[in-house]
């Protein structure tokens, strides 16, 4: 059921991303990344109560287009992941998200510093066309660099 986790951001209103500053807000950081194909991603990190930092959210940025193998592109603005147990080892987090009988794979490596971050990214997903053939869409292997946002960004729409 992790598929469900790929949701439109409108359905995933994270309390951490809104409202006045709280202890949780202070423990969270937001980054805006530019990918090697000129698109944007948003990352959120958070420090849990036990002191461990994890990558809390990954969202596709405004206007993000996911290229598909049939030559089309899929608007992916606002889709993303949140509240997954992707814990850091030092400053680096590695995400290898794929499961048997799932329709997506997410690969991400990121090194997050206080003000900047950088890493690699690949997201692949398969859909059914109306004629019930499969359509595979993938970012391909991207690199990204990010800057920390010192304000709380709105949840992507």
């Amino acid at each position: 059921m992790k598929r469900i986790a790929i949701v439109l951001a409108g359905l995933l209103v994270i309390p951490l991303l809104a409202g006045p500053a709280s202890a949780a807000d202070k423990a969270s950081r937001h980054y805006r990344a530019e990918t090697s194909d000129g698109q944007t991603l948003r990352f959120g990190t958070v420090r849990d109560e036990d002191g461990r930092r994890r990558l809390n959210s990954v969202f596709f940025g405004e206007g993000f287009q996911l290229p598909c193998d049939d030559g089309t592109t899929l608007p992916y603005n606002g889709a993303g992941f949140s509240v997954w147990p992707w814990y850091f080892e030092g400053r680096t987090v590695t995400v290898e998200e794929w499961q048997e009988q799932s329709n997506f794979a997410l690969h991400l490596v990121g090194t997050f510093r206080p003000a900047t971050a950088s890493g690699t990214f690949r997201y692949t997903v398969v859909f059914l066309n109306e004629d019930e053939t499969a359509r595979r869409c993938s970012t391909g292997d991207l690199t990204w660099t990010a800057k920390r946002l010192y304000w709380t960004p709105p949840t992507p729409r």
């Binding site: 329709n103 059914l128 019930e132 595979r136």
Partner: protein, 155 residues
Amino acid sequence: MKRIAIMLACLLVISLLAGPASAAIKGVRLYRAGTSDGQSMRFRVVRDERGRRLGGVIFGQDFQLPCDDGTTVSLSRGFRSPQWFFEGRTVTVDYWYEQDIIAMHIVGTFGPATASGTFRYTEALLNEDETTRLCSTGDLTWTAERIYPTPGTST
């Protein structure tokens, strides 16, 4: 106190299910179907204030879905909907699910004791090497008989 209340509630449910009233749950009919590829499914037909509808489809135990690479995947899931209404004795379902990765098509004609129809279920999956895998029952036919819930039967 809460535990006692739960136990009493359980006993009440069990006694209700065990009595004569368990022969049928009002407004619900269950059908067990055999498909043309030898597998089984169950259908749940509901009649309520909004009309008669197909309330759920449950794949049989160890239902296998053939894939285009020669493998099969197990389907242990079912689907429910409040919107699959009958027209006369026939219900038609054209269902796309979970961001267009699952398609399910059902046509069923349900009588008081038997039912029959067609079925196709297709699912797109991503393999570990990130190639696609398309799994589908293909176009099946099915025939079904009504079954009667007994204590412990999921309806």
